[in-house]
Amino acid sequence: MNAPDQIDQSKLLDEGFDPIPFNPRKDTWRRFRRNKAAMLGALWGITLAVVAVIGPVIQRYDPTKLDLNLNPDGTLGCTLKGPTKEHWLGCDLLGRDLWSRVVNGARISMTIALSTLVVSLVIGLVLGAVAGYSGGRAETIIMRLNDVFSAVPYFAVILAFTSTFGNSILPLAAAIVTIGWMSTARLFRSSVLQINNLDYVEAARASGLTTFQILRHHIAPNAIQPIIASVGASIGGAILSEAVFSFLGIGLLPPTPSWGVMVGEARDYITTSPHLFFVPAGALLITTLAFTFMGDGIRDALDPKLRGIA
């Protein structure tokens, strides 16, 4: 016999209630999904990743191929022309197809962003964990090293890498890691320190677990939260770094189709051919904004206490 107040679970599910009382991961995702700007940012990030992977299929032209054939009206090829049916976003000063170049730029940005993210994370997490958990001399050495690296001008690092190994993607990525691992290490150290002082970690130690087990199963899952929250900003920061150094002429060099190089090349033609500037600058602007909003959304979703405060 049915009790009159028995809960109809399927009806509750329809109304959006979860029969399992609390699932933090689902809860985080639900909060993230509600943030429209963050969702748009994430969508743009995924689009960029797809474009980076299928780039060669959709780019239509070789991004460094010049079109300088003399036209009947005296112009050269498609140089400085706006969008046409053949060249979706127009052509640059040397008749190179802007669509192909901007797609290739996405490829370069994503390669640098993801490789620097992974390597900085590994270095930062390992050093941060050692410093935060073991303390003592190891901590002192790591943290002072951290301070020294933070005080070295990024110019010196970039120049050292590019003049030794050339102005290409790999040396530039290595340089960006060298000037970027410190914040992850510092963040993870303080987070590990905080959790290391909690009672349940003390209990785990008392029950005789090894250091690795404690770190892996008891500290890391909780201490990793602020790191996850910072991933969006890290990706955006790495993409921006590449663009900045290439714009300043110390990162990637022309004719490499990187967004920073393209903006630098377009500067002198902005009055006559603004599309040369707006195509790469727009791509860069949308991308850095997307990752900024995505990062902010992830942080809010992970820590609802921060919502509307930070």
Partner: protein, 334 residues
Amino acid sequence: MGSFILRRLGQTIFVVWGALSLTFLLFVATPGSALDELGGGGRNIDSQVKANITKNYGLDKPLPVQYLIFFKNLGKWNLGEGTASPNNGKSVNSLLTERLGNSLRLAFWGILIEATVGIVIGVVSAVKRNSPVDYVSSFGALALSGIPVFVLGILLQYLLGVKFNQWHFPQWAKFPIQGIPSKWWGPIPISSDWKKVVLPAFTIASVSTGVLTRISRSSLLEVLRADYMRTARAKGLSERRVILKHGLRNSLIPVVTTLGIDLGVAFGIAPLTETVFNWPGLGSAITGAASSQDIPVALGLLIPVVLAIAILSLLVDIAFAYLDPRVRVTGGRA
């Protein structure tokens, strides 16, 4: 307090020494050198000439000796001389005095804009929490903090220098897009071309204004929840007095800290703004030296920047410890 300052001072000296050594190694131990560019564009240079130049600059000595000479010269505040055009043979010390003032002037206006706009909008946004004003300004601040500085700079040049003219807004196009005012009184431009400072100042202030707005908003929101705020209201103070006197004052600590650090950051991003607007400051000099492989100039101009940032962060930490005694015990900023 005394022991905290001593400990922090020792730490700063170590960090400066480490950073300078690493910078020296990165510059000197790399294969590229201005000698490769000597004579320009792959022309052959007499080997004797090359040897003389190498000897003259002490590049034939072993690395440890060069390292000691570097610190010895630094002790005498002799920053060396340039090896490549346009600063060939020029003393880096005189280049520094020439350029540093211009950078400081730009940084001054940038920080002024950042502090005014950031604090005012942050406070309004916190007081009117969850209103449309708050949503718009919070969204704007976040967006501003994510805009690439050089894209914003070129965009401003294009809109205020090119487009607004064509759209018949001549009064808007009066902001010059290149160069620097010709006469200064301290940080204040006194010549008729003073408007040249407007666009670079707003550009260099952009990102940090976004960040500071968010910090001052969240800091005030935190203070507004404190018990003494309820006490202040309960004893009948006007809302204006509660916010400005009790709230704002206590919320300013992280804001001032951020401003101190931002003076250093202003140096960090100055190369972009200075390059975009042809502002003859330190940043554009370093960028130029870097791309022409003029290592003594790049190294010599970076040293004062390293020192300035280290001293600035030392002062910020001491100020912070003075304002918040808990820091003295744990020994670091939160």
